[in-house]
Amino acid sequence: MKIIVAIKQVPERDAQVRIDSSGKWIEESDVQYAMNESDAYALEEALQLKEKHAGEVIVVSAGPERVGTTIREALAKGADRAIHIDCDDLAQRDALGVARLIADAIRTENADLVLTGLQSDDLGYGQTGVILAELLGVPHSTLILHVEKTDTGLKVKRELEAGWFQEIELPLPAALTIQSGGNKLRYATLMGIKKAKTKEMRVVNAADLGAPAAPVAALESIELPKKQRSTQIIPGDAKAAAATLVEKLKFEVRVL
């Protein structure tokens, strides 16, 4: 099975971001970068499928030169080779623009399966994978927690709201967007990194791919979340207060 995983490099989870002078993006020099979380799960799913059914895992990522470190991390974890779409204006491209870049870069690979995270941790459009499927002309399914190969194609488990799941079957080739948490992520190893040095990383220039750079949906501005805190004192005896607290955590804060 030939599997392509589209990964994105995003600011590190704890990054303290500043908005740049254009007001449309963050000061990139301030932050350190890491692999987008759900993309890491997409990669893990691909690696597990390869371990079970043999084949090849190819990672593709668009972005400037710094994206190389994230690509090498993916190679270290076990991907076989990589395609780096070199472009400096990723943040200005909309989901369609990015999907076009990726589709153009991977079309000739004729992969059996294309995986990507369900959304990016920075822009969070959640559309790139779906549009990519459309551009490649393959069926897709989103929010996938588990993938199983069957004789005719795939059986996948989707996560719905409120603890509901849906299992669907679809033929190959296909594209899936992967939800975080379905598998346990492997860690990058020293041996993996050393092996990664010898693996192929093909760099293609975004301009050469022919996809138009002008976005259909342009980003107007971004802003930092407003800090707000509200403290509530829950009255009553411990038992009643605890019940109220659970109620609030469940339905107001929605963390339970």
Binding site: Y187, A188, T189
Partner: protein, 672 residues
């Protein structure tokens, strides 16, 4: 001429057949010795060279050899009675070297120590005194091994060591008996032959038994790696740690063959003592079994879980890296480079599969701290605590570490120490951003991640122009000072107890009445109430806990037991400073195991992040011991120990003593 000889009797005039027989026996004995010892030596020499080995500084090596081998300091200090018995046997052997040479020379008629001459007389009497001591010593060790049978000697009592003990005893007795006969008496000849045969039987037995340490351990101690728990660098693209025989270095081989199976490592191991699979002695013997089996050129894995059968992977990951084994070992075995080396092999090649471990690694691959908490929480803490930000102008960078930045109890320690620094008027600041020093991943053997963390931190410190660091965490201190060296030059660093001890005479002392004897820097009513009501900070999670902790008014009569953190004590040799500080604010009491013999809290070696232990919890075992001292307060100097004991004490019945870091003990005297 049957009167009692005044000196050692030596048989005279050996016949030619006698001489020939003796010669044949000597050659046979030596050949048998070499037949076993030769291959061992070959295996040691055939092992990979240690990339970081330097003979310099030679002074340290000579000193170690003098104290540990010649003077038997460690052997005696750590196990006085058996140690002394062993020392007598050892010194007896040393004194006997010349006697034995002369004894053999007599057989060929070329004896050089004349028993009748004054020097011979003096030497033989001296040797006789050692012989008596040696005989008593070996008899004592025999009784201990076969009748007292301490459990760390293992289930199986080796019969060879009984035979060896018998032979040594016989050597001494036959020597001493020769004082009671004359040169011409047949008895002298019989004694000479019994002594000779005993010697010739003893020699080939040495390399077959743990008595191999007679030959190897002096070299092992002399050649041991510099520093404590020093993890050697990985060299080249094929080095991932101890995976197969090809990774075993000469020092590891030498150390594995030197093990005398005394079980001191076992006796002090927190894992073994709480019913876990790990027994450091078995790790070393497993390495020896590997060398005896596949050998140093083999590509077979060492660890179980990777296809090997020699050392258990599970056991290796139960080590808290407390370093008791390495500290205790009397023959110079350095367990930690071996245990961490095996972990490196498993982690660097990805064969170690552990959900907690993977989670920790993933957290540090993308996040900043080992606790997996958002870095924003650290910012909030710094703001609430009003800690100054380091801007390059201050003298000290106060390194928070993961525990100090994110753990509620660790934050209390930072807050208390900051108050002490404010009181002393120290100039300090905290970094805007910090990453984990990499201590847990270093000890777990993840070199890739450790290198990333070390390099990022070094860069950050250099950019901020940090010259001096002080930290509340002994793990951070050790890792920054020693382990980062592989990737750059870390700034000077010290532990907060070292820092505070330097200013001990400026810190307020507690009087018998409980009122700190100090002129306050700020006006206020000097009452005990005042001293205890001050907490200095107000972050919500820890507040209630702190109020409870500080409910006891400090008084000189307060009994405080100090728990030596492994990474402060054995790793850094800091024992006196925290004690000096505790005596400022209470009465120091000692736990049965303290200073170099302190028993781990269970958190080290990355184990704090690996979930539930099997068997009894190490922290519970130690907490019980500390509580049993009757102290009203447990003093700690490491946020990991603190958090481990907090949990352990919480689960104990009865009133638990209060638990405070040394910084908190000092800070409570500072008043408002």
């Amino acid at each position: 001429m049957t009167s009692l000889s005044a000196t050692l009797a030596e048989p005279q005039h050996f016949s030619l057949p006698e001489k020939l027989l003796f010669l044949v026996l000597v050659i046979a004995s030596a050949a048998l010795f070499w037949r076993r010892f030769g291959p061992i030596l070959h295996k040691i020499l055939q092992s990979r060279k240690d990339p970081d080995f330097h003979l310099a500084p030679i002074g340290r090596r000579v000193w170690n050899f003098f104290t540990e081998v010649i003077c038997q300091v460690k052997v005696i200090q750590q196990r006085p009675l058996p140690g002394l018995a062993h020392a007598f046997v050892f010194w007896g052997f040393c004194a006997f070297a010349l006697v034995t040479l002369n004894h053999a020379a007599v057989g060929f008629g070329i004896g050089f120590l004349d028993p009748a001459a004054w020097y011979g007389r003096i030497y033989f009497y001296l040797a006789a005194a050692f012989a008596v001591a040696c005989a008593i010593g070996i008899a004592g060790l025999f009784i201990r091994r076969f009748f007292v049978r301490p459990r760390w000697l293992g289930q199986k009592v080796s019969s060879e060591s009984g035979i060896i003990a018998g032979l040594i005893f016989l050597l001494m007795v036959t020597y001493l008996a020769a004082f009671f006969t004359t040169d011409a008496a047949p008895a002298a000849r019989v004694l000479w032959w019994i002594h000779t045969l005993t010697l010739l039987l003893f020699l080939p037995l040495i390399p077959h038994t743990k008595h191999l340490h007679l030959v190897l351990s002096p070299a092992t101690i002399f050649l041991s790696r510099d520093g404590f728990s020093q993890i050697p660098p990985l060299v080249g693209d094929e080095d991932f740690g101890l995976v197969t025989g090809k990774d075993i270095t000469q020092l590891v081989s030498l150390q594995a063959y030197s093990c005398v199976e005394c079980g001191r490592c076992t006796e002090h191991c927190p894992a073994t003592n709480t019913g876990k699979e790990l027994n450091p002695k078995e790790v070393i013997l497993g390495m020896r079994a590997y060398l005896n089996g596949p050998g140093p050129a083999s590509e077979l894995p060492i660890l179980t879980g990777e296809g090997g059968v020699y050392v258990s992977q599970k056991a290796v990951f139960q080590c808290t890296t407390c370093g008791s084994c390495e500290f205790q070992c009397p023959v110079g075995i350095q367990h930690l480079p071996i245990i961490v080396g095996l972990r490196r092999g498993a982690v660097n090649t990805g064969t170690w599969e552990d959900d907690y471990g993977s989670k920790l690694f993933n957290q540090l691959e993308r996040g900043s701290n080992a606790l997996g908490i958002s870095a924003l929480e650290r910012d909030k803490f710094i703001q609430k605590q009003e800690l100054p930000i380091f801007d390059g102008t201050q003298e000290y960078c106060l390194w928070l570490g993961c525990m100090g930045g994110y753990d509620p109890k660790g934050r209390e320690i930072v807050a208390a120490f900051a108050r002490v620094m404010n009181f002393l008027g120290s100039s300090y600041g905290v970094l805007k951003k910090e990453k984990c020093t990499g201590d847990p991943v270093r000890r777990l053997g993840n070199d890739l991640l450790f290198q990333q963390l070390a390099e990022e931190n070094l860069k950050n410190l250099a950019q901020n122009k940090v010259k001096k660091i002080v930290s509340i965490c002994p793990h951070c201190v050790r890792t920054i000072q020693e382990d980062w060296k592989a990737y750059g030059a870390p700034p000077e660093i010290e532990h907060h107890t070292e820092f505070m001890a330097r200013y001990a005479d400026k810190l307020p002392r507690i009087a018998d009445s409980g009122v700190p004897q100090v002129s306050r820097l700020r006006p206020g009513n000097e009452t005990a109430d005042d001293a205890r009501s001050v907490t200095g900070h107000d972050f919500s999670r820890a507040e209630s806990a702190e109020k409870k902790d500080w409910a006891l008014a400090p008084a000189k009569s307060e009994k405080i037991v100090f728990h030596d953190p492994c990474y402060l004590g054995r790793y850094r040799n800091v024992y006196d400073q925290p004690r000096e500080l505790i005596q400022i604010t209470g009465t120091l009491v000692e736990a049965p195991r303290h200073r170099e013999r302190s028993f781990c809290c269970g958190a080290g070696g990355g184990l704090a992040f690996l979930g539930e232990e099997t068997g009894e919890r190490v922290s519970h075992a130690r907490a019980k011991e500390l509580v049993a001292t009757g102290a009203t307060t447990i003093g700690t100097a490491c946020p990991f120990c603190n958090t481990m004991f907090r949990d352990a004490l919480g689960e104990m019945n009865g009133t638990a003593p209060q638990l405070l870091d040394v910084a908190q003990l000092i800070a409570r005297n500072l008043g408002g």
